[in-house]
Subunit: 232 residues, 2 copies
Amino acid sequence: MTKQFSTVWLREARPAKSTGRSRDEIVHAAVELLDADGLDGLSMRRLGAKLSAGATSIYWYVANKEELLELVYDEIWGELRLPEPTAETWRVTASAFAHDMRRVILRHPWSASLIGRLPALGPNALGAADTLRRSFHLAGFEGLEIDYANTTLTSYVFGITIPEVAWAQKVAETAYPDESIRETVALLAADYPDLASRMNEVHNSDVDSVREIAFSFGLDAVLDGLSARLVA
Amino acid sequence: MTKQFSTVWLREARPAKSTGRSRDEIVHAAVELLDADGLDGLSMRRLGAKLSAGATSIYWYVANKEELLELVYDEIWGELRLPEPTAETWRVTASAFAHDMRRVILRHPWSASLIGRLPALGPNALGAADTLRRSFHLAGFEGLEIDYANTTLTSYVFGITIPEVAWAQKVAETAYPDESIRETVALLAADYPDLASRMNEVHNSDVDSVREIAFSFGLDAVLDGLSARLVA
DNA sequence: ACCTGAACACCGTTCAAGT
DNA sequence: ACCTGAACACCGTTCAAGT
């Protein structure tokens, strides 16, 4: 019933000069499917077809779909552009990571469903984690507190961005979202006048900028809180 | 292609004296399946069978599986036990929510996959949100900042707990996780001596308490950061 | 070494038909 | 009003067989 701990990253990639398809080719095709049609758009059959291959030939490169997802997930981490920790203050580096991660997730909405479900053990994820850790170390954190600080920051970013994506998708697929959603929430929140009235403070046209403001508000709070841990 | 914004919560529940099955009955059966076998354990066919009903009779009560998941998701929110905001300081209330939410998610690991994917518009979710909002209002936050504070807190809790669940499940299903995982991470993090050495600071037996400490560390940071927003 | 196709054991959902 | 069963269009994965 239990098995070895396994991950794609322990599976050797096929040598580059191999005659067959490459892992890169497969991953890129998969990302294209995901960007175009979301998580449901990626099936082993569709991916096979896209590569003009039999549906099951992918299993030569990957043990199962989970491993394929590990590969595409690491692509997300690869899109981050972080500064060298030594070149900036820790707040700048942390803040760059936060905004960049959010941007990348919003650009690849399917990634939101992968975060936390899959271990982030790919080279890009490890590289980003290392950059953050070095930055927090330079800030003055020591030992396990480096990891705690790291976890605090990434948790906040993931926790705020994941629902943001889901909501955006739901909005995107509903007709006349402005009236439709406002009306729905008003009905459901009838018992909570506070909540209902708050809805009306935000005009739907502002919704994106309110999200940005909310993100920055929380990020500043998190960074201030970490800062406080530093002087203590 | 686009449709109305829809949610189960706008669908009237069948009257209690109805001759058929009740929504409650269905939801409880679904939660039992989920607790026993996780998200993959819940299929419309299996749920039908558990209710000694045809596989498709559930569609009388619910438009689709998504709506069923909305129902079970709200059960999670219903397990929270929050204090009356007026009875405690906002830090106590916020902290109670944070620890309680984490506990509930860890107890129902399948819920981690639902968070952020589904709108939280059920009565229990709205009730909890209202409690938090009132507490932040009493603390001194005004207008949209009440929501920002609320979002910051819940984002942190979700963001740290979701990966925790996934990791715990992965550990649970691997044989000899201690050696197995340590060895794997050591191999993959070979290029990052920092990361690798950190692994060895934590003995695997401590892993649960380290998680608790990490959670509290971040929570304190978040609460301090919100506090700072209050005096500014 | 790499790929195929058939087959297995599943899914969610629709819909006509039953009571 | 409530439930059924057959059918449709899919899944991920295994495996013997091909080149």
